[in-house]
């Protein structure tokens, strides 16, 4: 009997405190988002791989170790992120890559780059240099409308041109994708609390059965 009374009194008095803690959590969530997850994001432009690493919460992962592996598991190269959490490298071959970020103290994450993210020639020839000198000429030809019908580009060159301009246009979008932080949503938080309260109910039920049974 006494125990029951204590329970009730305790609940009455502690609810404000606990609700206060929760409310504090909710208030801080939108501003601070969250901490303690490290993410790496990589995208390919031509044959160069750009990576950006940061902790969730927006803080960049400075001077963190990066290791690049191929799909066979061989380490191709390693390096360190700079002051902006960036690391840029050119893989020896355009192939599927696994980029592992080790930000110290148990923080680790990885990002996979698929082979087809590398532009044309990725599968055929790893050296795209013949395309480069042709670029200004074709651009000029395109900009002067009068000559348009005369322009006939070799298929490979046209494709390379498209790839390059797409890379240029998409770079900011890809960059933005990397900076968008999808932290836990409110439904995740409420769902988690709901789970815990559900478990409390289950435990209390089992205990009460044991008591009466």
């Amino acid at each position: 009997m006494k125990v029951r009374f204590d329970m009730a009194a305790w609940q009455m008095r502690c609810w404000p405190l606990l609700i206060g803690i929760w409310a504090l959590g909710f208030l801080l969530v939108p501003n601070a988002v969250l901490a303690h997850k490290v993410t790496i994001f990589a995208w390919v432009e031509g044959h160069t791989v750009f990576t950006e690493s940061k902790f969730s919460g927006g803080r960049v992962a400075k001077n963190a170790r990066i290791e690049v592996y191929n799909m066979a598991g061989d380490k191709l190269l390693e390096g360190q992120t700079d002051e902006q959490g960036k690391f840029v490298f050119q893989p020896p071959q355009p192939e599927a890559l696994r980029i592992v970020l080790l930000a110290g103290a148990g923080h680790r994450n990885e990002w996979r780059v698929a082979a087809d993210e590398f532009g044309d020639g990725a599968t055929a020839t790893p050296t795209p240099q013949p395309v480069v000198p042709a670029a200004p000429a074709t651009r000029d030809a395109l900009s002067t409308d009068a000559h348009r019908p005369d322009v006939s580009l070799p298929a490979g060159e046209l494709q390379a041109l498209i790839e390059r301009s797409l890379d240029k246009k998409l770079a900011p979008i890809l960059h933005r994708l990397g900076t968008v932080d999808t932290g836990p949503s409110l439904s995740d938080i409420i769902g988690g609390i709901g789970y815990i309260l559900g478990l409390v109910g289950l435990a209390a039920y089992l205990q009460s059965r044991r008591k009466s049974g």
């Binding site: 606990l18 919460g57 103290a105 815990i196 409390v200």
Partner: protein, 213 residues
């Protein structure tokens, strides 16, 4: 303080898992009827606290609340923290499923140790109780950093270096957790001293023992 998936070696993960399972078993055994609701509420508070980002210091850290959880639950901290960590892993991608055991040891073991170190002191004179409460919050994080360093020393070369890194990163959190614990203890001393470990709970335990014999 959550260690990510894929950082630790198999034996470390297994050891952590086994110890955490044992701790959880003890905790569940000690979790009697009137402590279930308390454990659930503290588990929920722990779950949400990880979203409160502390933007001070060199790295990315968040509140943990292991001190107050240990103080209020004793061994019950194990089941409360394991549930919260599991949900954080699933919903927030903090830590991971394979590292659940190790992460439980990082946060629940210090909670139980702090319960034994400071549990009795918080019932004493105010001049003793409040510093003890601060130390409880502070030391729980400090010990957590030491356990994390011990887990990481098998993969990251140097125990002292890693531990120092984690400790320095968590100094602001230690101070804040100390203050939160002081606030909670002061609050409970005023409204419901029964909830704190110490005098009256001990009386109740001895009464029960006498009843049983």
């Amino acid at each position: 303080m959550h260690i990510s998936e894929g950082v630790l070696s198999g034996p470390v993960l297994l050891t952590g898992g086994a110890l955490a399972a044992a701790g959880t078993a003890v905790g569940l055994k000690k979790l009697d009827y009137d402590r279930i609701a308390r454990a659930g509420l503290l588990s929920a508070a722990f779950f949400v606290a990880s979203l409160i980002h502390v933007p001070i210091g060199p790295s990315s850290v968040h509140l943990i609340l292991s001190g107050i959880v240990g103080l209020m639950l004793g061994w019950g901290a194990f089941p409360a923290i394991v549930v919260a960590l599991l949900l954080q892993g699933i919903l927030f991608q903090f830590g991971g499923l394979t590292t659940l055991g190790v992460n439980t040891m990082i946060m629940a073991a210090p909670a139980v140790i702090c319960f034994y170190l400071f549990g009795r002191l918080v019932h004493g004179r105010r001049a003793v109780a409040l510093p003890a409460a601060f130390a409880c919050g502070f030391v729980s994080i400090l010990l957590g950093a030491v356990v994390a360093g011990a887990a990481l020393m098998f993969t990251e070369e140097n125990f002292l270096e890693v531990t120092l890194l984690i400790v320095t990163a968590h100094i602001p959190v230690m101070v804040i957790e100390g203050m939160i614990t002081v606030f909670c203890v002061a609050f409970f001393r005023r409204v419901q001293p029964d909830l704190l470990p110490g005098a009256r709970t001990a009386d109740r335990a001895t009464l029960q023992e006498r009843k049983e014999t």
